[in-house]
């Protein structure tokens, strides 16, 4: 009872701060200086039609590298934590097989979902989308495969290989930017092309495809690790 009262008091205090913030907030009429710079120069310097993609991959590309690292750490720790202390000689699990509807539907849908994911991260610089969305869609396809056949042993080596190579190539492209163009992760190592074409915006499609593969592989490995645990 006391604990709940203290929690409510704390929430009331935080709530008054939020109310003060909300009352004093006024939406801007014009873009601030940073946003105006990005809006003016994204099309001419970077060549990407999606300004958010241009910010994520080039203007603030180092943050994206950090985020991919954090996701890699999370996936690794999940795999490590779940594998610790597991009995190595696993009794064969007897699970109820998935129904006919699910298996047939998966055979039809899983390639389409992977294709949609690849489309989303290949066109990240033209339409809303990009590496993270495409990677999440690919992980959903993997999830469907896991649900349809729970005993299927996912080759962790394949997922780990895809993830490692994507990461290495991402950093290698960044270093190429140091050598051939303005700085680390500069996208002008490839020609920027015309606005709106598929092969435009320099190295952004390449970088975002690698990010999409890496995120997809990491989320898939998290799901595969969780699915391989035993019922307690």
């Amino acid at each position: 009872m006391i604990k709940r009262l203290v929690a409510l008091l704390l929430l009331v205090a935080i709530g008054t701060i939020f109310t003060a913030l909300l009352a004093g907030y006024e939406a801007d009429a014009l873009l601030n200086l940073t946003a105006r710079y990005y809006a003016d120069h994204a099309a001419s310097d970077i060549g990407a039609a999606n300004i958010v993609t241009a910010i994520i991959v080039t203007y603030r590309g180092l943050d994206t590298l950090g985020e991919v690292t954090v996701l890699f750490l999370a996936a690794t720790v999940v795999g490590l934590v779940l594998a610790l202390g597991q009995r190595h000689e696993k009794a064969p699990r007897s699970l109820v097989p998935a129904g006919e509807l699910l298996t047939t539907g998966t055979r039809f849908l899983a390639p389409l979902i992977m294709l949609l994911g690849a489309y989303v991260f290949a066109n990240g610089h033209l339409t809303p989308g990009g590496g993270f969305q495409g990677g999440a869609i690919i992980a959903s396809g993997t999830l469907l495969l896991l649900l349809a056949d729970p005993l299927k042993h996912f080759s962790h080596a394949l997922i780990a290989t895809i993830e490692s190579f994507a990461g290495i190539f991402y950093v290698a492209i960044g270093l190429l930017g140091l050598v051939l163009a303005g700085g680390f992760l500069d996208n002008r190592i490839l020609p920027t092309g015309e606005l709106g074409a598929l092969f435009s915006a320099g190295a952004i499609p390449l970088i975002y495809s690698l990010v999409g593969l890496k995120v997809g592989a990491e989320l898939s490995s998290m799901l595969a690790n969780l699915s391989a645990t035993e019922e307690l």
């Binding site: 990009g130 969305q133 998290m222 799901l223 969780l226 019922e231 307690l232």
Partner: protein, 89 residues
């Protein structure tokens, strides 16, 4: 057109708050997890109304898809612990 958009935003915000309250106080744990997935879904639509299509796509794929599945995976493994700590909150 704009009043329709404002009315839709108001309805969506109310739905989101209702789903959040259900997620906190739901009697059964699967209901709470599904309500949290509903919060993410409505938030994805709100992101689209706030002119942020990239964020809407990410939230729809990751927030209301993968997170709900992660919860149900783990819940399936700890079925017996579903009710622990619930009697005297």
């Amino acid at each position: 057109m704009s009043i329709l958009l404002t009315a839709m935003t108001a309805v969506l915000c109310l739905a989101m708050i209702g789903a959040a309250l259900l997620a906190i106080s739901g009697k059964a744990l699967p209901v709470a997890i599904l309500a949290a997935g509903l919060v993410s879904l409505v938030a994805s639509v709100l992101f689209l109304i706030l002119a942020a299509p990239d964020v809407a796509m990410t939230e729809a794929a990751i927030g209301s898809g993968l997170t709900t599945f992660l919860f149900f995976f783990v819940l399936g493994r700890v079925r017996a612990g579903e009710r622990s700590g619930d009697d005297n909150d």
